[in-house]
Subunit: 130 residues, 2 copies
Amino acid sequence: MTATDPPWDPYARECPSRDLLNRIGDKWTVLVLGELADQRPHRFASIRDRIEGISEKMLTQTLRHLEEDGLISRQVYPEVPPRVEYQLTSLGVTLRGPLAVLREWSVSHATDVLAAREEYARTGLRRCPS
Amino acid sequence: MTATDPPWDPYARECPSRDLLNRIGDKWTVLVLGELADQRPHRFASIRDRIEGISEKMLTQTLRHLEEDGLISRQVYPEVPPRVEYQLTSLGVTLRGPLAVLREWSVSHATDVLAAREEYARTGLRRCPS
DNA sequence: GGAAGTACCGACCTTTGGGTAAGCTGCTCA
DNA sequence: TGAGCAGCTTACCCAAAGGTCGGTACTTCC
């Protein structure tokens, strides 16, 4: 935002922006943020149930990272049984669009890619001479 | 593209679109495709040199996957020393925009995220009572 | 004749990702 | 009395990711 920001470059080794890029492109992160995209509070169990195959451990870990990075907020209600609500922060909202586009791309081009893989399996093997 | 495509859903376990999402969000894939974004042919060594810290093994593997998925083409010139050129396919071009947006986000928000991490390290630790 | 360049491939080994399972809290309901 | 709830945490373990190193083929340059 300021003019004094270092020239972040994901192509540079150990640049924080590369690290960040890895995190936001993460397997579970993309799905979790997508689920929180409506900016309404979500509870642990509802996110877990929505994302098929995620373990509680990975969900916890992913949520912690997102909170640490300031992308989501975590609100604990001191009730019994405990209630915790997660929701996008304003910083998280800025990431909503980019990730939505990515998910949409993967949905709308899955067929093309599957076709390409078949084609590759059939013809691409001339790489190995008979 | 066609009306008969299965209803791909990355939130479903073992859906090809989830698999695809993981691949395109991959650590090296994002950078490699970014480097090829100008649609001009690129050689192995030039890509390797541009992406600091990538090993030749990972570059080879990433390029193979991209070729397999139909996102890049691989042109071999039977010369000595060998010359191989990689370039985006038309399918690959459709992914250029989404990934560019993602890279730009990580560059322009790295500062914010670093600040959030510091804040979290300082205040977020009331999670552990003294 | 030895070194260097190109784009790999394969073996080996370490690091990380990620799964399972158990435990914990403090109240409530049977 | 004790089971069950929500949202974890911790320990343990295996498999996959990914780095390092060595080799290849053929030629050109020194």
